[in-house]
Amino acid sequence: MTEKNTIQSWKKQNRRSLIFKYIVLIIIFLIVVIPIIMLIFGALKTRGELATKPYTPPIPPHFENIQKILNQPDFWNMLKNSLFVMLAATAGTVLVAAMAAFSFSRLNFRGKNLSFNVVTLGLLFPMSIAILPEYILLRQLNLLNLWGIILPEIAFALAGDILILRGFFMAIPVELQDASYIDGCTNLGFFWKILLPLARPSLSAVAVLAMINSWNELFLPIVVLNEERLYTLPLGTMQFSTEHGTDWAMVLAFVALSMIPTIIFYLFAEKQLISGLTAGAVKG
């Protein structure tokens, strides 16, 4: 066989396999999407409708349950708490991690290796495993409130984010740093005026990661928060589903509502999220 023939036969084979691929992808697509669609269908039905025809599209849609939830202060309160925790944790994580990543990628100092090893050690202690010690500590510090979620979230996010940012920072040319020093820039000036603006894409990748993780955190709020007015959205959603277990249409409406911010955010920030998640994971 000549080369041309080989490639042509491979392409023909490809066309057949393309149909097969689409069939598989569509099956998996349905498996992924059907649970979400069922949730949205249920959220737009009344309790009676959900009992009589549970799986049909909600025609006409009923927004009574959604309205009822939106008219109570609880949902808005949880949304506010979650937003506050997310913004504070993200700002803290990005700032602290960027400072450390700058030291590890751009400065030479004694103890660099040692402190870097301490940081990478942090990767070995996931939050879910250290949750009880964390609870004991936060109780001692009188931090059984929203700050008791924000600060540990920052602490446990740091190790990974420092490594990701360090990789990105090292890709910025050294000549730029030298030039800025020659022009009289200090380390601080270089960090603030040159490095951070240049590294904006990587900072936003890390920020998006921190936002998603904070927004979805469940274990820490379960352990730390014991007042209903402090509940975050994931904890509140869980609590709501146990309290309203008998009115499942209501639960579905609540879950669908709490899903909306995530979906909107995801559609806007998918690119940053993906670049953050894959950074480092595939290097080398």
């Binding site: 691929k21 799986y55 940081v119 990767l123 010690p133 990701i164 990789g167 595939v282």
Partner: protein, 315 residues
């Protein structure tokens, strides 16, 4: 990457002593926040919990009731804890033989600018960004035992003559249900890792194999997969660690029940240490969990002799 390291090393040589002093001061200032967070919120609590794990401590007042290794003895002989470890291993094994091959296959399928590629990626990856509360309740809803509420049973009972399944209420089915929900949530993440890994493989290598007359399967088996080994290592590592730490999704779906059938180590720790306020005992569970993860991490690193996946640990 290598070029940059070289550039960095060259840079070191032109440093004047003053510059080095200045760097040390700046680094000290820039590292202090990180070190404070580390010592207060990670290292100190872990050391403290190691201490408490030797006490029978209910969480109030000082720990005075020293029991030595009794807590550890009790945990390691508790059949419920053994069940939790078994369930953790079950999730690990199932993830490795079911989730990973599927996610590799999917990533390979949507390669090469296949039409609809980014659409499928967006949809498959979406469950990953949902909180465990949302994902858990979605699947509780799907797994409702009554066919007039639970979608999966509605489909199952279309087969004439079968009884509806108990799903989350049945000790032998609950882990399968949990695993299905976990796969639904995390498949897209691993697929994403493999897609990124595949994007790094130069097309020419596989084209050369095609010209040499290799079949599709031969190419995947002998060219693509070996080139993907770094990504596979990362994915396996994250998958195993994640499986060992499962809490939220399972807690929402089954609370570890029925009769401890879906107990995981984190649920066990939460239930005993926190809900029953046996904090000393719970701390001992935490220490054991930590050791298991630590031993796995270190031996896995030794085994694959690479550290390059560290940056991808964050998930």
């Amino acid at each position: 990457m290598n070029d940059l390291f070289i550039a960095g090393n060259q840079h070191k040589y032109i440093l004047s002593p003053q510059k080095r002093n200045r760097d040390t001061l700046t680094a000290l200032f820039f590292l202090i926040p990180t070190l404070i967070f580390f010592f207060i919120f990670i290292i100190y609590p872990i050391i403290q919990s190691l201490y408490y794990s030797f006490f029978n401590w209910k969480g109030f007042g000082p720990a005075i009731n020293f029991v030595g290794l009794r807590n550890y003895e009790k945990i390691l002989t508790d059949s419920v804890f053994a069940k939790a470890v078994g369930n953790g291993l079950l999730i690990v094994v199932l993830s490795l033989i079911v989730q990973l091959p599927i996610s590799i296959a999917l990533a390979i399928m949507v390669r090469n600018d296949m039409p609809g590629r980014s659409f499928f990626r967006t949809i498959f990856f979406m469950p990953f960004v949902f909180s465990e509360s949302i994902a858990g309740i979605i699947w509780v809803s799907m797994f409702k035992p009554d066919p007039s509420i639970g979608f999966l049973n509605a489909i199952w009972t279309l087969i004439p003559g079968v009884k509806p399944l108990e799903f989350l209420g049945d000790t032998s089915q609950v882990m399968m249900c949990v695993f299905i929900a976990l796969t639904w949530k995390y498949l897209g993440f691993h697929m994403l890792l493999y897609m990124a890994g595949l994007a790094n493989i130069p097309r020419e290598i596989e084209e050369a194999a095609i010209i040499d007359g290799a079949s599709n399967w031969q190419i995947i088996r002998n060219v693509t997969l070996p080139l993907l080994s770094t990504t596979i290592r990362t994915s396996v590592y994250l998958s195993v660690l994640g499986s060992l730490q499962q809490f939220g999704l399972i807690w929402i779906m089954s609370k570890g029940g029925p009769v401890n059938a879906s107990e995981t180590m984190a649920i066990y720790m939460y239930r005993f240490g926190f809900m029953r306020l046996a904090l000393g005992y719970g701390c001992a569970v935490g220490v054991i969990l930590l050791l298991i993860c630590l031993i796995f991490s270190v031996s896995y690193q030794r085994l694959v002799k690479q550290q390059d996946y560290l940056g991808g640990l964050y998930s």
